[in-house]
């Protein structure tokens, strides 16, 4: 049995940790609490480590590593409360590499990996409809099957260049940000994870090969990586509390 990380996984985690320690350590994260826009410089720097291409095949320009490696990275990001949509980008790249058309791969993969383009997952709907079998948004009859309707609580929706949108019947669509995609920024409790409600007004929507299994794998991956992020945050909180208890006298 070997229930442990590989040297390679540790090395990647250390590389990410070292950049984040530099930029967000020592409570520097405080500066981000009032900041609504994404910090493009920090974004480029972390993307420069190649983390958005972890799950993408080598042939497509990625590092072809597994979901465990991505989870290790998500945990490090969470441990610094990194205000960056790395996980959405990495998963969008993974999805497009795996299920996108050749045109979609050509258009988006390199940009998603480098960070030049930002992706957001627009899945949730009103009344707490988070999971695929509760999605109600569907393509319109007219307008070549465009999308009209709302998606809620989209992580970093206000910064995104493209949206992966969940549709009823286990379908996924790729929507490019333009003047038909209206962003309504929200004041999220977690100020390092900015949210927006997305309103689509006859937005052009390309299909991504869907199907129940593929969609449920994607949602599972999002949930697992969110859990890893939360785990990292909790571990930091724990170790700070322990350190404070050691130093505090009463």
């Amino acid at each position: 049995m070997n229930f442990d990380l590989s040297d390679e996984q540790r090395a990647i985690a250390d590389a990410v940790r070292s950049v984040l320690e530099d930029r967000l350590g020592d409570a520097k994260i405080g500066a981000y609490l009032e900041r609504v826009e994404l910090d493009e410089a920090l974004w480029s720097e972390v993307c420069g480590l190649g983390v958005c291409g972890i799950l993408v095949r080598e042939a497509s320009g990625g590092m072809q590593m597994d979901m465990v490696t991505m989870a290790v990275i998500a945990e490090v990001l969470g441990s610094y409360a990194a205000p960056l949509p790395i996980v959405p980008n990495a998963l969008a790249a993974w999805l497009i590499d795996r299920s996108g058309s050749p045109e979609q791969r050509d258009r988006w993969l390199a940009k998603l990996i480098s960070g030049e383009a930002k992706a957001a997952f627009a899945l949730g709907e009103a009344e707490d409809r988070w999971l695929p079998d509760t999605w109600t948004l569907r393509r319109g009859e007219s307008g070549g099957g465009s999308l009209t309707g709302w998606k809620r609580n989209v992580e970093w929706g206000a910064a995104a260049d493209l949206f992966i949108v969940g549709l009823s019947g286990d379908q996924l669509a790729l929507v490019e940000a333009n003047d038909t995609t209206v962003r309504h920024a929200l004041d999220s409790v977690d100020r390092t994870r900015r949210l927006a409600d997305m309103e689509f007004r006859e937005s052009a929507a390309q299909s991504i090969e869907g199907g129940a299994e593929s969609v449920s794998q994607l949602v599972d991956a999002l949930l697992v990586l969110l859990a890893a992020d939360a785990c990292g945050a909790a571990a930091t909180a724990m170790s700070r509390a322990v350190n404070y208890a050691k130093e505090r006298k009463q």
Binding site: R152, L186, D190
Partner: protein, 394 residues
Amino acid sequence: MDLSYSPDHIDFQQQVREFLRKEWTPAKAGDRQYVRAFRAQATELGYLYRSVPRRYGGGEQPPDVVKAEIIREAFGAARAPMEVPGNGVALLTPTLLEWGTEAQKERFIPATVRGEYLWAQGYSEPGAGSDLASLRSKAELVGDEWIINGHKIWTTLAYTSTHMFALLRTEPDAPKHAGLSYILLDFKQPGVKVRPIRQINGQQEFCEVFLDGVRTPADWLVGERGKGWQVSRTTLKFERNHVGSSTRTVGMVKQLIKLAQRTKIDGRPAIEHEDIRQRLAVIEGYVEAQVWSGYHQLTLAGKQAPAGVLGLTNKLSTTNTYHRVASLAADIIGASALLEPKHEGDRGGAEKWMNQYFGSLGLSIAGGTSNIQRNILAERGLGLPRADQADREP
């Protein structure tokens, strides 16, 4: 056992209700003049400020816990204002009544009771919260004035306060507990700087207060020099009684049940879900226990008997129940819990529950932390050795 009121108390209840029917119009609650006149009248009749003598602007009545409860219920039902809220009335006034000089009582209590003096509580400091004995802000007597230097934090509503009652180190050579004094100061004095602290719920209820060479008259010291610890403990006792009442908890549970009835999870009302029902039932159980414990404490107080360990449980059990209520509410409102409480609009304003949620976390710290409450329960209630002594046992 008999939970009904005596004929005298039933008469009294009628009088209070009659007074409220005649004299209180909820629609005028925003009219300051009207509210001030109403409070003055209610005080005159002995419904408000019952423990404050008339010569200091109070209602001066013999202690009667049942009457006090009747007044609370009737005023609550009529949505009529009771005593001026805040530290001045709840904490400083009883402390001055117990420890103050005649001149201090005359100068400070009437203005506090009328709501003209608004008091900040200057206890906590960076590095010294529950552990007040470690306070470092100091006051030095020079001539007939104290000169105060230091830094207070988590000072509730300091930016709207006119005055502060503070614990300050006046005897630097004395042991920790014996070195503190309880001193009053005026926020208009030069050297007072108040900085609001932005909280996780977006509000700014707490402040930091910087005291830089602030002067206050020598005779604004309450109790003796070096006795600040004892004086402040009177205040803390009042504060704990203050948060121990179950009236608000009962109201919150009613709101929670309404929330569970009107909010849908997976297309069905939340209250129809098994796990939600279970958690509601558990909360209901704790609240019932608190309500009956309250009746029993009321009975004991009526007989002038000590409430013992039961009286020490109030703050902790209120805090725990608040938290259970608010975290169930946060689960019921679902995605709305992602948003800052102030966010209203098309989400139906369910985020106000997030204020309750964050507030419930704060309550486990405010007015004596839950762990300090557990220490007190263990030591005074259960007769266990003091924590620091227990550490020294082999």
